[in-house]
């Protein structure tokens, strides 16, 4: 029997900086972001990215955190959890990460992570995750000034994209390009609910629409929905996008067109922003604590 193809699968990744030696670092800090769809771990050596992993979330938050960790420490010669000075959990499952020293919300962490990933000029961050979307205003240090979050709902998020990939039997990573490859931009699907949008899309396919056209209509609906969050908070330049959906060109291009502002080009895997921010907080908090200890 042929193996069932899983169209929702996206590329899981790991990274280790070959030029760094963790043994030379004064402070090794880490962040783990357990989201509803994906989990990441980032390890920093003295505040610089040494290693990270990005994997699918499992059935429980502790398990997802462990997965992310074993993947992240797979190719780091000799580095184990015991060498990590401070670890912070974030994301939907942040309070259920057994080996975390502290939990910080994904809102504060994405703000700080985006500041590292895109630089101090970023003022507006849009995080498009597996289960929700948020817009965050940040200052030049990556501190969250205000934020908005959508209702818990799959529409306009990574999970919704995965559902569509399965339904249309299109690899989720191809959706963005395919949705842009249309002769004419269609009207957005009218429903913002994934369940209803699915049945609407089935109807469109039956009436002769191509998969590309249906995807374009769905991406447009997602972009329009996210636009509400962006206009309400007000887009100040520079504008950056984090989270899994930042990899979907079909959504990103449409959002850019709607707000008339281009998003900064990512230099890192956009999914690690939360874990990266958490690791940066871990680094700062550990240093603050040791300073206190040595002063005492």
């Amino acid at each position: 029997m042929a193996e069932k193809k899983e169209y929702f699968r996206w590329v899981e990744s790991t990274y280790v900086n070959p030029e760094m030696d963790w043994r030379k670092a004064d402070v090794i800090s880490a962040g783990i972001d357990v989201g509803s769809v994906s989990s990441q771990m980032v390890v920093l050596c003295d505040g610089q990215i040494y290693a990270y992993s990005n994997t699918r979330s499992g059935s429980s938050s502790p398990k997802s955190a462990k997965n992310a960790m074993s993947l992240c420490l797979k190719d780091t010669p000799g580095l184990t959890f015991d060498n990590i000075n401070y670890l912070i959990g974030t994301g939907y499952g942040r309070v259920n990460i057994p080996f975390a020293h502290k939990a910080i919300t994904e809102i504060s962490c994405h703000a700080l992570g985006a500041n590292f990933m895109y630089g101090p000029t970023v003022r507006t961050v849009l995080d498009m995750g597996g289960q929700d979307c948020k817009t965050i205003h940040i200052d030049e240090k990556g501190k969250c000034l205000t934020f908005l979050m959508n209702d818990k709902c799959a529409a306009g998020t990574g999970r919704g994209m995965e559902v569509f990939a399965e339904m249309l039997k299109v690899p989720v990573t191809d959706i963005g390009d395919m949705s842009l490859d249309v002769a004419e931009e269609p009207e957005a699907v009218s429903s913002t609910c994934v369940v209803f949008a699915k049945s609407e899309a089935t109807g469109l396919l039956k009436s002769g629409w191509s998969k590309n056209m249906v995807l374009a209509a769905y991406c447009k609906a997602m972009a329009t929905r996210i636009l509400e969050l962006l206009t309400r908070i007000g887009v100040e330049k520079d504008f950056a996008i984090t989270g899994g959906i930042a990899k979907n060109k079909g959504i990103v291009k449409r959002i850019e067109k709607l707000i008339g502002v281009e998003a900064l080009t990512p230099k890192y895997d956009t999914q690690i922003a939360g874990a990266l921010g958490a690791a940066m907080f871990a680094n700062a908090i550990y240093k603050k604590q040791s300073k206190k200890l040595s002063a005492a």
Partner: protein, 384 residues
């Protein structure tokens, strides 16, 4: 954790069996009447002067499921506060009320009380029609409404309310306001004497028991705070703002994240005790003037500037770091009012969290995340 105050235990006990509280039960056992009231534009003193116990209609200490109310309304466009009152009425839990008195805050609350009464035969007295602005004409008009309310109560229960009785009741209720203000003045300290959750227990008890007894409890509480010197450790100072909140558990959950809730602007909180009835030649005129709440009006009243100024004043007096602004779905007045004061307070350096939430709160995943992120904005100070 600060030591538990003995008087707080007594006060919390009042709220336990809500809605038919122990003091209400004892009152009824003496053959006396209870008048349920909705909306703080209803002058409680008139009910008290008639010899009845005023009892405020709200939801209970915890969020409840709204099965009967939703069934009745097909999930229609009403707020969860009014649906909670309807639910309690449909369950028959407000059956101990002899009648209901209401003003005209918003349609949902008052119409749903009528529906509840329809099913449970609790009579509703003619509503006090509350003007939406402050001027001499409005005061004159509301004076007429208060006088009619007096007559309606007298006719309904076959009693007479004398000028002496109303003057005494005003003095009694003013004493409550004075002491609640005293208690709140203590909250201005860096290390306040009560948690916000405890304060809400106090405010809840105030409208669920005979006033004389509540005043005694309140005096005892102030005395106990003085003698024990009880304090809550310093933390970022916040206000929870919104229409109405009766669930101490929600406030407790917020405070467990590392903040002190030192004040509120709820109609069962600050707006309930803020303004005294001023002495005058005619107690009825003084009542009418006070119960239009010119200083701390609710957002149904025009102009909105009064409310903005008031919230800004609270923020200064209580040295607030942040405000959690609750908005209930379908509560148009508060939803539309929020943007008017939010930016002003932000300009004045106060962090404001806009939190859309159902009456009673809940503390589910995403609500918790938003409140936690707000607390981090106030307290997560690290050098990156």
């Amino acid at each position: 954790m600060a030591e538990m105050l003995k008087t707080m235990e007594e006060i919390a006990k009042v709220n336990v069996s809500f809605p038919f509280t122990e003091p209400a039960r004892k009152w009824k056992e003496q053959g006396k009447k209870i008048v349920g009231w909705i909306c703080i534009n209803v002058p409680e003193e008139v009910i008290h002067a008639a010899g009845m116990m005023p009892f405020r209609l709200t939801g209970g200490n915890e969020e409840i499921s709204l099965d009967l109310a939703n069934e009745y309304l097909f999930g229609g466009g009403t707020c969860s506060f009014s649906r909670t009152i309807l639910e309690l009425q449909l369950r028959g839990e407000y059956g101990f009320l002899d009648c209901i008195a209401g003003a005209t805050p918003c349609e949902g609350v008052i119409r749903l009380a009528e529906v509840g009464s329809h099913y449970h035969n609790i009579p509703i007295l003619p509503l006090l029609d509350t003007p939406r602005k402050f001027n001499d004409l409005a005061y004159k008009f509301y004076h007429g409404e208060v006088m009619e309310f007096k007559k309606n109560l007298e006719n309904f229960f076959g009693v007479t309310i004398t000028d002496e009785a109303i003057a005494d009741s005003i003095a009694l209720y003013n004493k409550t306001r004075k002491d609640l203000k005293k208690l709140h003045d203590l909250m201005k300290s860096d290390t306040p004497p009560l948690t916000g959750a405890e304060m809400l227990e106090v405010l809840n008890a105030a409208v669920r028991m005979p006033r004389e007894d509540f005043n005694t409890l309140l005096e005892k509480l102030l005395e106990e705070i003085k003698t024990t010197g009880r304090t809550i450790p310093a933390a970022p100072r916040i206000m929870i703002s919104g229409a109405v909140l009766n669930t101490p558990s929600f406030v407790k959950s917020v405070e467990s994240l590392g903040v002190n809730v030192v004040v509120d602007d709820f109609c069962n909180g600050s707006r309930y005790w803020w303004e005294q009835v001023e002495a005058g030649d005619d107690p009825w005129k003084s009542l009418a003037k006070r119960y239009l709440l010119p200083k701390c009006s609710c957002p149904r009243i025009n102009p909105p500037q009064n409310r903005t100024d008031w919230i800004s004043q609270i923020a200064k007096d209580f040295r607030l770091d942040g405000i959690i602004a609750l908005t209930m779905r379908c509560c148009a007045p508060y939803i539309l009012n929020l943007p008017m004061w939010k930016t002003r307070l932000e300009d004045e350096g106060v962090t404001v969290l806009d939190l859309d939430i159902e009456y009673g709160g809940g503390f589910s995943g995403q609500i918790r995340t938003r409140i936690e992120a707000f607390v981090e904005m106030l307290s997560l100070e690290v050098e990156i």
